[in-house]
Symmetry: C2
C-alpha cells in the first residue's frame, strides 16, 4: 500500500510560495531580492525555504521555469500557432505589449531584466542563453519561410531575428520605464512595418 510521506507535513502551499517568489524576483531581479525578502512574502522561515527549494539560486531557476510556463508562454504560442513567421512575430509583439504592461503584476519580462548586472555569471548566463535561444528559434522560422518563398530570397535571417529580439527587449525596457499598453501596442505595430 502507498502511504503518505512520514514525518511532519509541510505547513505551507509550495506552489503559492513559488508564485510569490516569482513576483518578487520579477519585480526586483535576482540579486536585489534577499532571502529575507523572499521568506517574508512566502510566509515561511529560512529553513523551510532551503528544505523545499534547495537554495536561492535553485529557487530562482524554478521561478524562471515557472515564469516561462505561466507568463512567457505567449511568445512560443504565437510563433507556433500562426501560419507564417510574419504573423507569429506580429502577434508575439502585440501580446508582449499587453503582457508587459498588465496591471497587478511587475512590468516587462523577467527573463530579460531579472539577471542583468548579476554578480553570478552562471545566473546571468542562464537567462542570456534563454534569450539567445529564442532569437535562434525565430531565425530558424525565418529561414524556413525564406525556403518556402514566404519571405524574399535575399532576407538575412539572423539580422531579422536579432531585430525582433531587440524590439521585444526594447518593449520590456520601455514598459519598465513607464510606457503605456496603448503606446507599446502602437510601437509593436510600427516595428512590423520594417518586416520585409
Amino acid at each position: 500500500m502507498e502511504s503518505r510521506r512520514r514525518g511532519r507535513p509541510r505547513s505551507f502551499d509550495r506552489e503559492a510560495a513559488l508564485a510569490q517568489a516569482t513576483l518578487l524576483f520579477w519585480e526586483r531581479g535576482y540579486e536585489a531580492t534577499s532571502v529575507a525578502d523572499l521568506t517574508r512574502v512566502m510566509g515561511i522561515g529560512p529553513p523551510s525555504l532551503y528544505a523545499a527549494f534547495g537554495d536561492k539560486r535553485a529557487l530562482f531557476e524554478e521561478v524562471v521555469d515557472s515564469y516561462g510556463h505561466a507568463f512567457g508562454a505567449f511568445a512560443a504560442r504565437a510563433l507556433e500557432q500562426e501560419p507564417t513567421t510574419r504573423a507569429g512575430v506580429a502577434r508575439m509583439l502585440r501580446e508582449a505589449a499587453e503582457e508587459y504592461t498588465r496591471p497587478g503584476r511587475p512590468r516587462g519580462c523577467l527573463v530579460i531584466s531579472a539577471a542583468t548586472n548579476c554578480t553570478s555569471e552562471e545566473v546571468e548566463g542562464a537567462l542570456r542563453e534563454r534569450r539567445n535561444a529564442t532569437v535562434r528559434d525565430i531565425q530558424r522560422r525565418i529561414e524556413h519561410d525564406i525556403s518556402t518563398g514566404e519571405l524574399p530570397e535575399g532576407t538575412d535571417a539572423r539580422v531579422l531575428a536579432v531585430y525582433v529580439g531587440a524590439v521585444v527587449q526594447g518593449l520590456s525596457q520601455q514598459a519598465r520605464d513607464g510606457a503605456t499598453r496603448a503606446e507599446l501596442e502602437a510601437v509593436a505595430a510600427a516595428a512590423m512595418s520594417a518586416w520585409p
Copy 2:
C-alpha cells in the same frame, strides 16, 4: 597672489581614477560594483575615494555625467547635426551599433543597463529619467518635423519616439548578449525602414 592648496597634495590622478570607475560601473552596474572593487581598479584606498568623490552614489553620478560627455554624446550629436530627425535617428542608431560593440570597452550603454534591478530607487530613477528625457527630446524633434511637413501629418510623435527608444535599448541589450557590430548595424538599418 593665488597659491596652491595647502596641505598634502592628492597622490593620484582624479580623472584617471574616475575613468577606471566608469569602466567598472559600465561593465558590472551600480550595485554589483563594490567600493572594494572600485578602490582596487582606481589604485587608491577607501578614504581617498570618499575624500575625492563623496560616497559611492556621488561617484556614480559623476561617472554618469562623465560617461554622457565621453561615450554617450554621439546620440545628441547625431540628432543635432543632421538636417532632419529621420537622418539624425538613422545616424544615431548606426553609431549606437558601433559604439555598443567597440572592442576594448564594456558593451552596450551604461545609462540603459547600469542601474536596472537597483535597490536604490533614486539611482534607478535617475537613469530612467535620463532615458525618458532622451525619448522626449526625440519626440519634440519629430513634432517639429511634422509641423514643417517633413513628416506626414498623421504621425504619432510619442509612439515613434518610444519606438526609437526601444530600438536603442534593444541594440544595447543585444550587444551585451553577444551580437556583433555588423549584425547590429544591419539591425539599425532595418529598424529605419519602419520610419514613416
